[in-house]
């Protein structure tokens, strides 16, 4: 199967997201209970789902890295987690805005859904200091992969645990119980989810492409200037692609 180019991926993400947002404001009906404020969920929930799925994807790449020893998988794991943490920031901020509008508070501590996502987010926030506390590149990659696998396995467990918890306050807007969503709302939500997933994939590929270009540049510079060349130290905290890798497929 032919993989679409990054450009096509980015265009598709922009188009689907725009279509989704247009559906949110011009097609999806107002929620009978929450009113207009419920429109935030078409953004907040896809962000959260992509963020959590991205953490799991990071764990899967971590498994591939430990199995094969190829550093390309370590880089993919790193980039997946990196993007998911950024999406996680979006989840926390948009969720807080919704909470303020709906509950009158920016945050509540007795709500399992909120606190569990914060725990997952903070868990992954420790990924960076763990990674960069280790200087040896191979050991850094191995430890980061072990972390990605362990934390990635924690994500679905955490999700199931929260769904089983009996919450009185956090709405299950997209639940299937009690009839679930009306068709127009479900369609809007699915389009937004597809757009967000495409955006996540496009941004991951964008960052991988930048890393591949940076690795090729370093290889070229070494070839031209000889082995005495040392890469700038300030921009090398993220894992580098192997010098043989040029394409972030």
């Amino acid at each position: 199967m032919k993989v679409p180019s990054l450009r096509d991926n980015a265009i598709a993400a922009a188009l689907v997201l725009c279509a989704g947002f247009a559906l949110v404001f011009f097609y999806a009906p107002l929620d009978a209970d929450q009113g207009f404020i419920q429109k935030i969920f078409y953004l907040h929930v896809p962000l959260a789902m992509c963020s959590l799925a991205g953490f799991v994807v990071g764990g899967i790449f971590g498994i591939a890295h430990l199995r094969t020893g190829k550093s390309i998988y370590d880089v993919r794991s790193y980039v997946s987690i990196h993007l998911s943490v950024i999406f996680g920031v979006g989840v926390l901020v948009t969720g807080s805005i919704w909470a303020k509008a709906s509950w009158g508070k920016w945050w509540v501590w007795d709500e399992p859904t909120l606190v569990s996502f914060l725990i997952v987010f903070l868990l992954y926030a420790t990924y960076y200091p763990l990674r960069y506390a280790i200087e040896d590149r191979d050991r850094q990659g191995r430890y980061a992969s072990v972390f990605a696998i362990t934390a990635g396995a924690f994500v679905p467990l955490n999700f199931v645990a929260v769904r089983m918890a009996q919450s009185l306050v956090h709405p299950r807007v997209f639940a299937t119980a009690n009839g679930g969503l009306p068709g127009s709302m479900l369609l809007t939500f699915l389009v937004c989810l597809a757009g967000m997933a495409l955006l996540w994939i496009a941004l991951v590929r964008f960052e991988l492409a930048a890393k591949a270009a940076s690795a090729s540049l370093s290889r070229l510079r070494r070839a031209i200037e000889g082995e005495e060349y040392a890469p700038p130290s300030g921009s090398r905290i993220a894992p580098r692609l192997p010098t043989s890798a040029t394409s972030p497929s």
Partner: protein, 70 residues
Amino acid sequence: MPALPLDEAGKYVAAAYVVFLTLVLVYVAIMAAKVARIQRELSELADLAEKERHPEANPRGADAGAQGNA
């Protein structure tokens, strides 16, 4: 808590979507800056390689190359 009126809720909804757009734009801007740096370094290397292949075109090729790497 009853649903907020449209004019009140609109501010919050707009804020949430603006936060999302800002987040994406900031990320893309940072990545674009990195790509621009890579392009700049690449063009410096291309100049350097060109001067090493044709040193007669620039008698001060070595000096210029050293300056380009500074």
